[in-house]
Symmetry: D2
Subunit: 155 residues, 4 copies
């Protein structure tokens, strides 16, 4: 079973939510399980997109109960480990797609690259070294379809 | 969606594995998601029982990769947080069924009672206070069917 | 530097708190660092005993802030990982001393035995296998001095 | 007791290690506890600087044992929770000083900003929004002394 982690902010723009929904729909269409943080914004949009297309969605929650989880999760895993759960979200993906930007999202992107995962970014923040040169390792995609293809998991 | 955490040792007797398989089969038959630690022994048996009956099984792994996960999981969540993941397994269950005994299993049983969950024990270890009196809070079941009923989730 | 984890309930009897204070005093007198869960009851008593004797005490907290930490800690580590921090408390000790009983305390005792640590129990709960026979691996001590000696760390 | 988390890569340049040592020395001189990830590079340099100046240093390790910890720690907390421990390092600081850059370091910087901590960056990576504008919230310092002052903790 292919699993893809999709990360993004709770406070997301309508454009970001639309992209996340489409990413979820496409992943479900290819039979992949979507893993996300389980709450609102991008997390809810990707879950809605995937479950609406008949896919399986797992929300790895920071809290120890299902309180606040979005209604589109097939399964909720309330870890109770707070923001440390970001590491688990990332570890659960064969690749990671990032939609939009926030500090929590950036921590997931960074942990994914730390662990050597393929990371595809759709919009969102930019990271550069001390001299301002973009860092290697992140694939930037221009659309949901491009992002899903760029994971390299569906060939 | 009802979720039940099923805990038990990697080194399990054939009798314990048979009980776990039956617990998994019964839970899947009632439409519940099974959450377990994702490795061998009781974890593998409950996963085999549930997936064989068409159910959904999530393995919350201690390692940061899927290495060593049993082949019956629908989804694997490699948390990378080591034995601390026992807390996440327990938090993910609306109730907890314990089959057999080991130190890791006992930690899950204890965390479940710490968090106020309904805990049903099928065989396994016995805990008593300093004077030797059995502690309140654990329901003991004599069979897989009794254990599933004793969760109080299927009425 | 020798580090000893001391575990016990927040709701502790005066006798348990007195034992914990004495354990802390003795450990500090031998130059060991005391690691505990950082809150009240046994955790506070062992911290008071150790810091009163000039020792170093680290509280590994479940919350993400220092809120509720007892005032006798030299350092507080607010992990934010909830009850999963019990694993970290235990991992931080070269040996583990358990004073009194609770479900949280039992999870720490179990995790310590799971990881092969020397565990010394002063009072507290009793664990037996399915037939009621006491399990191997726990050393029972009759006094704080006996408990500290039984860690085997001070020879 | 004031606690400052100092984050930075294992693979650090000599210039970064020199800065980290000086940050450690200055923090110890002001009576602050240094919390770090406990391994090599910037983590070792800040620990050496602080302990050499008589300060207290806590290493919050990712592994479950003290294996690989640097020799300058006063106390080691082997959490066993892997990269999820980055959240604990950050939570343990009243402010966070970042020296140099790596993906692990970036995850700590991001988690610190996520939790609303004061973050001071000495060199290291640059983060910008989707349009390339630097993000609010990070204070950039030109020297160890400036970094320590910019925490706002020593007035």
């Amino acid at each position: 079973m292919i699993q893809v982690a999709v990360c993004g902010p709770r406070d997301a723009s309508e454009a970001e939510r639309a992209q996340a929904r489409e990413v979820g729909r496409l992943l479900a269409g290819r039979g992949a399980v979507v893993v996300c943080g389980g709450y609102g914004g991008v997390m809810e949009a990707v879950a809605a997109g995937a479950s609406g297309a008949g896919g399986l969605v797992v929300g790895v929650l920071s809290l120890s109960t299902r309180e606040g989880a979005n209604p589109h999760l097939t399964v909720a895993i309330p870890t109770g480990i707070g923001e440390a759960r970001n590491a688990a979200v990332v570890n659960a993906g064969d690749a990671v797609i990032v939609v939009g930007g926030s500090w929590g999202t950036l921590s997931e992107l960074a942990l994914a690259l730390r662990s050597g995962k393929r990371v595809v970014q759709l919009g969102g923040w930019r990271i550069a070294d001390a001299e301002g040169a973009p860092l290697d390792g992140i694939t930037r995609a221009g659309s949901p379809a491009e992002a899903v293809a760029a994971t390299g998991l569906f060939v």
